[in-house]
Symmetry: C2
Subunit: 296 residues, 2 copies
């Protein structure tokens, strides 16, 4: 413990199902701690103790300034943080504070109606590490975001429920009998992406064909699972075409999911850059910490 310098602030990413906390010294990450006490598992008076447990575990002091992003700022969270309207920079110095905890505002778009919480911090991190970058950021997840950036501002964005649909269909639908596999059929994925991009209206019918193909032809589970993923990501690409066609693309996510999006874009001849989501979150929280310090 003696080798680790004392933290001067705490970074927090508090999502629906997970809490991640890092002790920080300036822009340097010292140590990290995770728990499954996500926003949806806590009552209003449970947030502070859950956070302090992890800060103590990191050897931090409960009085340190905390910069936090994610669903803890939602109506069902700890303190409701506002949504700022795009076009705007991903961060501002207007935090929602409770004690030493400073919560980053989400972003909203009025037409078409859309919202984000947490992704704005990753986007700020990406811009901090790639100053002046213009293009489109794709953030795969339960609710995947496509975000258009120009001159340091979020211009517009679009959320798709692809990840949530994949999980619901895998775990709860009639397809659950057909897609249980840890393996992956990359050809079936590419074929399905191409098929649904050219005929996006066929989605609901092609989904049931995965089950029928299993019953009639004994489709391998790795093939069925890759088809399901390919159909859903392909349908997403069809809907997000204005975002990726002829643009510079960066994918910010965890590695497995990001690689599926990379492969799907590749079927359309579109290259993309990968960036690690956790690294972007930390860079974004660091940018927020600097904004907060400058303003206070």
């Amino acid at each position: 413990m003696n080798d680790v310098p004392a933290p001067d602030w705490i970074a927090v990413d508090w999502g629906t199902s997970n809490l991640r906390v890092w002790s920080m010294r300036g822009g340097a990450m010292l140590r990290c701690a995770h728990s499954d006490e996500g926003m949806s598992t806590l009552e209003p008076d449970g947030f502070e103790p859950a956070l302090n447990r992890l800060i103590t575990q990191l050897g931090g002091d409960a009085g340190l300034p905390v910069m936090a992003c994610g669903m803890l700022g939602s109506r069902q969270g700890w303190v409701e943080a506002p949504y700022r309207s795009v076009p705007c920079t991903p961060l501002s110095d207007d935090f929602s504070s409770v004690g030493a905890v400073h919560i980053i505002a989400g972003l909203k778009q009025n037409k078409p109606a859309d919202v984000m919480r947490g992704e704005e911090t990753q986007i700020a991190g990406f811009l901090a590490l790639n100053p002046g970058w213009d293009g489109v950021i794709c953030l795969p997840g339960t609710h995947t975001k496509w975000v258009e950036l120009s001159a340091g501002e979020v211009v517009s964005f679009q959320t798709q429920m692809t990840g949530e649909l994949f999980a619901l269909l895998c775990d709860h639908s009639v397809l659950r009998h057909s897609v249980r596999s840890g393996a992956w059929d990359a050809d079936a994925f590419d074929t399905s992406v191409n098929e649904i991009i050219s005929r996006p209206e066929r989605l609901a019918a092609r989904l049931f064909a995965i089950r029928a193909g299993d019953l009639l032809e004994g489709t391998a589970p790795a093939t069925a699972r890759a088809r399901l993923s390919g159909l859903l990501i392909g349908a997403e690409l069809a809907a997000a075409r204005p975002y990726w066609l002829g643009r510079d693309i960066a994918i910010l996510g965890a590695s497995a999911q990001s690689n599926y999006y990379l492969a799907a874009l590749k079927t359309q001849g579109v290259p993309a850059t990968l960036a690690d989501a956790e690294r972007m979150t930390l860079a974004g929280l660091t940018a927020a910490y600097r904004l907060w310090k400058d303003a206070s």
Copy 2:
């Protein structure tokens, strides 16, 4: 009890989650009984006692001939009945029998891969009541079927997971917070059907917009629920266009669901006839009983 004549056979519709049994005399229904002992709730040795309980309740004799359709003929059911390949008549005299119980075969289509179990009996019932009818039958349900009929045969069919997607999204997704309502916004339904038929690739993005619209504008739950239904049924119509464009349409289903499909087709200027699913099932099981008697 004295007024009811003795049954000479038993009609059974055994689905995934429900068992429905009728005592019959020729083509006349005498009495009916329902239970929630569907196929998915039973072990292999549970089917016979579950059926006999309802037959006894109806005053029937366990030795009477039983004609049965539905998921009891699936691999996870009582006895696996084969699938017959389309094009073919909806029924044949080739039943899968266990004791006095005669299970009706399902139908399969090889390309695109598709299957049905139970709907073939409703289709046979519709044809028995409407001899010589040519056109397309839509059977709304967990897995909606679109079926092309010509000269008394099923020529082709297409299954869509619309009903299952609606239930999963209402009960398990982030939209569950926004769509809890017993009311209905018919204008929002029509608008959503039209919107997604003209741009079917936008489905996954428009789904999340239901949630964002609730957060930003406080969309009424009746509007959000009708939008969700309209987007899913509209996407289904886009996929099934070759089935309904310029054809005579009959919708076989329970009344609420059938009326949504009727309204959706009406937005496209397509008229359709409604037929009651239970009545069609009984007419189809009666046709099967006659085929079985003639063959035995």
